[in-house]
Amino acid sequence: MTMWFTKDHEWVRVEDGNTATVGITHYAQEQLGDVVFVELPEVGRSLAKGEEAAVVESVKAASEVYSPVAGEVVAFNKDLPDAPGTVNTSPENEGWFYQLKLDGDPDTSDLMDQAAYDDYVASL
């Protein structure tokens, strides 16, 4: 299991080489503040890398979530729309957004591993 991060503070966890789970990072939820709304992609939707996949809104503002990798949506977090605060309390576990079926090895060339992302956040 490998976790990768984007500069826009999305995370992607590649589970078994075939499935990837996407969410936003602890840093992202901290910056957003209390999350009050999420809009998630429908199952079956095909997402290109970098495509706008979801929306997350806090009391302050709306922001887009861009898919860190390409693939087809096979699931979304059904509990999240009714309990958007989960993004604040458990951003990198229970607050996941959606799952993708990958088409071969994901392109991670522009993504950061945990150590690189931690350094990146520390530099902000």
């Binding site: 503040g33 929306v55 302050k60």
Partner: protein
Amino acid sequence: MSEPNAESLKSTPLDALHRELGAKMVPFAGYAMPVQYPMGVLKEHLHTRQAAGLFDVSHMGQCRIHGENRAEALEGLVTGDIQGLKTGRQRYTLFTDENGGILDDLMVSNAGDHLYLVVNAAVKDADFARMKAHLEPRGCQLEILEDRALIALQGPAAAKVMEHLAPSSTAMTFMTAGPLEVNGVPCFVTRSGYTGEDGFEISVPADQAEHLARHLLEQADVAPIGLGARDSLRLEAGLCLYGSDIDTTTTPVEAALTWAISKRRREEGGFPGADFILKQREEGPARKRVGIKPAGRAPARAHTEIQDETGRTVGEITSGGFGPSVNGPVAMGYVEAALAEPGTPLQLIVRGKAMPAEVAALPFVKQNYYRG
């Protein structure tokens, strides 16, 4: 958004306290202001509705008007009946321009031997200049209160907290005003606010403000509340934000603030734009400010396009977001007058998609003012 030079920002007398409390400071109307504390906007909002919140609103403009004809003179600039405002009473009113637009909304109190005014931070310099130019030739003097902080204490527990610090505050009712010693400090206090809750606004000498704020925060029910929650509280209460919901392009009639034009002033006029405003009141405006309740959970922010059921553009959201007490999205905006009835179905265009919504009666939450 460009980041204004931090050095050019003014700070309030409570600046050091905000930073010590862990506030996130943002530029607002030329001041460094706390937008939230570690509690966060959502909990700060709910805390204010359940207990009491302390707000630093020292950025707002405070002034006094002196002179024998002060009430009559001020009436030349505002829509309210100031001559009929009794000592110890406060009134919400509007500065209008010659076209009937709104230059600012403000609170006026009759302090006996002078009038005490609170105006919005973003336009206070223009307000002060306009008042000075109008009042001085009429034998009145404008005294700008630069050396006073303004602290709002809002929420159902505010009265109990104030009773402890200023026992005679219990005699005050909603929209009353007067000098009061708070914790031994001579203040000018009004029983009013910007949250829809019972509460007080305390004008305190700047050099005593931090001590008083700390003392208030030591009370069990009181938490510091930032501008973020101030905005969601006032939106749920249906109160206008100058510069968003009202400005020089909106009239008091369109803004559904006709009640801020006192009866005598409707009959006599004599305020800037009176002819246009009173004619519009008779004939009915083309558009009206209304509350809007989005049907789903997605907030509709300011500048969201409003359509009728057929997809025709009928207006725009001027304030919108998540209402923590409503536990859902709430908004205000202008729609064509024919669509202003509560219950009228609308569509809001959010991220290119039409979201169902309807016109809602304001306020979104019950007002908890103390009327005695």
